[in-house]
């Protein structure tokens, strides 16, 4: 959970693009189906191989057993990927940008900086797919020369515009006598 200051409200929450998560999950799904390749081994060959292990008659239950263990492992891995995707966010409030970097479980880094610290914001969208489905990298540089990058973020231009509009609002408030 992010603790907000008094009078602070969330304006925008930015996450990585769903496509990146789905493509990683797709790879996991392929791994999940990998043991099915054993069924493609021609019957006489598989019988010859497994008969040596004395498991010819129990081949199917054994395969299902090890497959279910494999699925248990992949499910735990999927949970890790989901955590990484869902909890790795930039929270834009009316006071600051909160960068929550999630790398697996128990590896969480939270940094925040105020809008008046922002010196420069850049958006990088490279590639056909990134352009078509709108994901890319947003990089913010602060006055203390720190750089905050969000790779693969969804709608990077919208994110940058939100940040810059809040930045301008804060700047104009400071200019007022």
């Amino acid at each position: 959970m992010v603790k907000l200051e008094g009078g602070e409200r969330i304006v925008h929450i930015a996450r990585r693009h769903w496509f990146l998560f789905v493509s990683e999950s797709g790879a996991l799904a392929l791994f999940a189906l990998l043991p099915a390749a054993l069924f493609l081994i021609p019957h006489p060959i598989s019988v010859a191989i497994f008969a040596k292990q004395n498991i010819g008659a129990n081949l199917l239950p054994l395969l299902v057993f090890f497959w279910s263990l494999w699925l248990m492992f992949l499910w735990a891995l999927f949970a890790l990927m989901w955590t990484d995707f869902y909890l790795d966010v930039w929270v834009i409030t009316n006071h600051r940008v909160i960068d929550i970097e999630q790398a697996g479980l128990f590896n969480r880094k939270i940094s925040s900086f105020r809008f008046d610290q922002i010196q420069d914001a850049t958006v990088k969208i490279s590639g056909l797919l990134a352009t078509l489905i709108k994901f890319g990298t947003v990089e913010l540089r602060t006055a203390s020369n720190e750089s905050f990058k969000f790779k693969g973020v969804a709608d990077p231009t919208v994110l940058k515009e939100r940040i810059m509009s809040e930045h301008h609002r804060v700047q104009s408030l400071r200019m007022k006598p």
Binding site: M1, P61, F65, L69, L71, M72, A76, T83, Y86
Partner: protein
């Protein structure tokens, strides 16, 4: 168990593997649920994540146990 035991696939070894797998997944589930309760950030999806995770994990455990008993 109806099949003649071999060193690598004897029922005892398979049972040990199954118990270890369930314990590891169980431990992992506790960590996952704790983490999501603490840092889940609210929202429908975050609230549903532990339930979905536990349901699938339980189904996989049952599946593994049934397939072990079928050997």
């Amino acid at each position: 168990m109806p099949f003649p035991p071999t060193p690598s696939f004897s029922p005892d070894i398979l049972a040990v593997i199954l118990v270890i797998a369930i314990l590891v997944l169980g431990g992992w589930s506790i960590i996952f649920i704790y983490y999501w309760r603490r840092y889940g950030m609210g929202g429908k999806l975050a609230a549903a994540a532990p339930t979905i995770y536990l349901t699938v994990a339980a189904v996989l455990c049952v599946f593994a146990i049934i397939s072990f008993l079928a050997i």
